[in-house]
């Protein structure tokens, strides 16, 4: 005498079961992994990163459906994504669905009068921010003997600030943004020499490059909660864009926006310096730091 789970089994899976005379079940067909309920597939997807989830949406209908499941994307979004969304777009997400919100936030969005861009790093959901020269306080920026804005394809903002020469080199900036909790690194993206295209080839004009090898440039950052980082560097490499690491800061609490100030200076007035392109200031999650460190 034994209990029979056939009733439970058929109600769970909807399979047609018929009892054999000795109590064994005869099943119509053995379910395969491909018949797993969409919720199980979604669970598998939730352990993968967003590009992989989207890649596997091509497998079949169950995978496609699962790739849209809200709970899968909830875990990928930054914890304060609603605040982020409102800061950038000025309104709440509405009925986009979590995947739609993630996708929207992954596109670089401009805010603060066109001076800043923010986006999520696709694989990790990390918040990345970029500040254009127009969002920075650059000493002498309005004097065309010193600085000029030149259009270029090599910048997210389509224009960079080019320094011909100056005695007092100082670039300051500040940003207030609701960064999610984590550690972030701040960089200046700089280029020694002025690049342009001739007959489809990239040429670098270094005629104005001078004065960077005498004394190092000083970089600093401060946060409103008392963190401070500093570094210095002799700029030497011409002809390519480099990210100069200023330092890191930690965001403990994503309920209040983080306020950061930063600066880059070379104010030794015994010599002039010039021939420098300033693209922007970048803030990235620190785990990407190693990809960018140039000194």
């Amino acid at each position: 005498m034994g209990a029979d789970l056939s009733v439970l089994f058929s109600s769970l899976t909807g399979l047609d079961c018929s009892n054999g005379s000795d109590g064994y079940l005869c099943l119509q067909s053995r379910p395969s992994l491909g018949d797993l309920p969409e919720s199980c597939v979604a669970l598998v997807l939730s352990y993968l990163d967003p590009p992989e989830i989207c890649k596997l949406a091509r497998l079949n209908r169950a995978f496609r459906g699962a790739s849209w499941a809200d709970f899968v994307w909830e875990s990928k979004l930054p914890s304060n994504y609603q605040v982020l969304f409102r800061k950038v777009f000025g309104e709440l997400p509405g009925d986009l669905g979590k995947r739609g919100i993630y996708e929207r936030l992954c596109q670089a969005s401009t805010f603060d009068g066109g001076t800043k861009k923010v986006w999520l790093h696709k694989s990790t959901g990390g918040v990345c921010l970029s500040i254009s020269p127009k969002g920075l306080a650059i000493t002498g920026i309005d004097d065309r003997r010193y600085w000029n804005h030149i259009p270029t394809e090599e910048s997210r903002f389509c224009t960079v600030a080019y320094l011909q020469q100056i005695w007092w080199f100082e670039v300051d900036g500040e940003v207030e943004f609701p960064f999610p909790m984590g550690t972030y690194s701040l960089f200046f993206r700089l280029h020694l020499g002025r690049a342009y295209k001739r007959f489809g080839r990239r040429i670098c004009n270094t005629e104005h490059v001078h004065g960077w090898d005498i004394k190092p440039v000083q970089f600093q950052l401060w946060t409103s909660d008392g963190q401070h980082a500093a570094s210095k560097c002799i700029l030497s490499e011409t002809g390519k864009w480099n990210y100069y690491h200023v330092g890191d800061f930690v965001v403990d609490n994503s309920n209040a926006p983080t306020k950061i100030k930063f600066s880059m200076t070379q104010i030794d007035c015994t010599h002039t310096k010039g021939g420098l392109c300033l693209d922007s200031v970048f803030i990235y999650p620190s785990k990407f730091r190693e990809r960018f460190k140039r000194f």
Binding site: G2, L5, L25, L33, C40, Y47, R189, R291
Partner: protein, 187 residues
């Protein structure tokens, strides 16, 4: 609620003679399973609790579960209960908690290493049927680890699934997913 559950498990596991249930697999295997372990199978738990059946030594046939799978399930669930008890006993002692965690991770790594893709799939189906949440989560995580960074073709073969899209649907899918692959985030 969670604490009550663990305490009950600690009591149950430490009983010298525990009640058992006899489970029979579809390929003729017979297993005497300790009640606490068997009650991890929600399909059995609800069979008894929801139906208000008195728990007595009885034999249950499990359709669609084979011997090899059931023995693996019992092995995992028994160890999971032990780890749960050890974890509860170590509560508050950071070092002890870490040791239990590492021991568990070691066991799980070994457990899954020994499973072929085929066996992993069979286990998921069995565990999904038996409705064992913790083990299902563990197996699913293991599947994710095995298909991560693999091609679509590989994953299709792994799950043995057919492409059931029309060409128009494929185009649509390509478009709606393109955002995840285009451009570079950092220069």
């Amino acid at each position: 609620m969670a604490d009550d559950g663990v305490n009950t498990k600690v009591e149950a596991v430490s009983k010298a003679t525990t009640e058992t249930i006899e489970l029979r697999t579809e390929d003729g295997g017979v297993f005497d399973v300790d009640k606490p372990v068997a009650m991890e199978f929600l399909i059995l738990k609800s069979f008894y609790e929801d139906e208000g059946r008195v728990f007595d030594k009885t034999s249950i046939r499990l359709p669609n579960v084979k011997q090899l799978e059931l023995s693996k399930v019992i092995e995992y669930c028994t160890r999971a209960l032990e780890f749960g008890a050890k974890s509860a006993a170590a509560a508050g002692d950071k070092d002890a908690e870490r040791m239990v965690r590492q021991e568990r991770e070691g066991f799980e790594a070994e457990f899954v290493d020994e499973l072929s893709n085929e066996m992993l799939k069979e286990l998921i189906l069995a565990v999904n049927f038996l409705d064992i949440k913790e083990m299902l989560d563990f197996l699913i995580r293991s599947v994710a680890n095995r298909i991560r960074n693999r091609s679509v073709a590989y994953v299709r073969q792994f799950f043995d699934i057919e492409n059931d899209f029309t060409p128009q649907e494929e185009d649509q899918i390509h478009q709606e997913n393109a955002w995840a692959f285009e451009g570079v985030d950092a220069d």
